[in-house]
């Protein structure tokens, strides 16, 4: 639970003219898949009006390079934004993700969950900022970035930040960088599960919280599983 209150320094950001719009009461649910060959058009900004619900999911399969910057402007009350992503990197893949979650209006919620598996000599950079304007009372905003390094050469840089100018909010952020748990691996192997398969199960388990947010019937879990098993 982080809380910093400083009404003095708040500087509003200008809303860009080119932005994805979620109008009053609108529900948006979009999935962006980067699969090496194709990189979808990811908006640079999202504007969220009252009572809207926005869910954006980013999936990167091995072979992707991308520089994603996303500014979210939550400007109407009682809206909800959920951003999530799974980034599976190999070789010399490089992905950077910059998110500014701007709570400009009261009584809104937002949640971010980004899980990365970095192998080879790949690199992942995360800069995530939750900004709660003085008007953003009763905001609930959470951010989590979990990273697993699968090789000695892979690199992850994660920088979660909170900027809070309202005094009645619930905000938290958390970031972890680690390796696959070896105790779990040995336990599985002692039951006859081969090492590769054990690692595969661990990686699938690691990304499953994001997969749970995907629409049912999506082919993405299957594609991710295939990608993970070939790491």
């Amino acid at each position: 639970m982080g809380k910093v209150v400083d009404h003095g320094n708040y500087v509003p950001a200008a809303i860009p003219s080119q932005a994805l719009q979620a109008g009053r009461g609108e529900v948006l649910d979009k999935v962006y898949v980067l699969d090496g060959n194709s990189c979808p058009q990811i908006p640079a900004a999202v504007v969220v009006d009252a009572d809207a619900s926005v869910r954006l999911t980013f999936i990167a399969l091995p072979g992707s390079r991308a520089d994603i910057s996303l500014d979210v402007f939550i400007r109407g009350p009682h809206s909800d934004v959920s951003l999530s992503g799974v980034f599976v990197e190999s070789g010399d893949d490089s992905i950077s993700l910059n998110v500014n979650m701007r709570h400009l209006s009261p009584d809104c919620t937002s949640d971010q969950l980004f899980n990365t598996l970095a192998s080879g000599s790949s690199r992942f950079d995360f800069h995530g900022k939750i900004i709660v304007a003085p008007e953003g009372q009763k905001t609930e905003s959470f951010q989590t970035n979990r990273n697993i390094l699968l090789s000695d050469e892979a690199q992850v840089l994660t920088k979660p930040q909170l900027e809070i100018y309202a005094d009645d909010v619930k905000c938290s952020h958390g970031a972890t960088i680690g390796r696959l748990n070896e105790e779990e691996q040995f336990y599985m192997r002692s039951r006859g599960i081969p090492e590769n398969e054990a690692r595969g199960l661990q990686m699938l388990s690691f990304i499953s919280p994001v997969l749970d947010r995907l629409p049912s019937g999506s082919d993405i879990p299957g594609r991710l599983e295939q990608a993970i098993r070939s790491l």
């Binding site: 040995f186 002692s190 039951r191 006859g192 599960i193 081969p194 398969e197």
Partner: protein, 249 residues
Amino acid sequence: MGKDILLKVSGLHASVGEKEILRGIDLEIRKGEVHAVMGPNGSGKSTLSSVLTGKPDYTVTGGSVYFNGEDLLAMKPEERSWAGLFMSFQYPVEIPGVTITNFMKSALDARRKAHGQEPLSGAEYLRLLREKMASVGMKPEFAKREVNVGFSGGEKKRNEIFQMAMLDPVLSILDETDSGLDVDALKIVASGVNALRSPEKSSIIITHYQKLLDYVKPDVVHVLKEGKIVLTGGLEIIEMIEKEGFDRF
């Protein structure tokens, strides 16, 4: 090596880091026998089970282990499992995101594959799963639970015995399976071990206390101290330890 010898440990030395913990273990287990290995804390009991199951972090610095005539120390942990070795962990590991159903399916499929068998059909597998869960008194809803996540101490140990029943090992090592168990859980564990007793199967019960041994009567009892087996005998040793503790060794 005699035909009926299942496990033969000779002059086994093992270290963790720079520290030598096993300092020349000799142990011979025949088919059908239940052996108890007793010893005070720090005597090397858990190191012995870790080395036998191939846990990384332990370095074997001398000696040999043959299991059914095969060089056990040359095998990976999963290969040891396929060959019929099983250890009930002192501290069962939580595996978030993996259900008991999927966990055991992966384990059984891998072993069947290693033996050149087709995987069980979904229906066959579920029948086996339900049967074995019932046999150790595990509620059916545990099948959907993540492995050991949020389990009580007793539930974790019960899950170990369930996995043992599923994998039907030739040699089971119970590493302090009785620690932290109440009498009811202890009886479940004991009946699980006793149910697997057969002329072809053997167990090693590693324990600090005699509690479990009230319910599972071993054929041979060993006392382990400072990395060596200092005494081997029968049930009279248990009584002696109960009366006098480990200090006399």
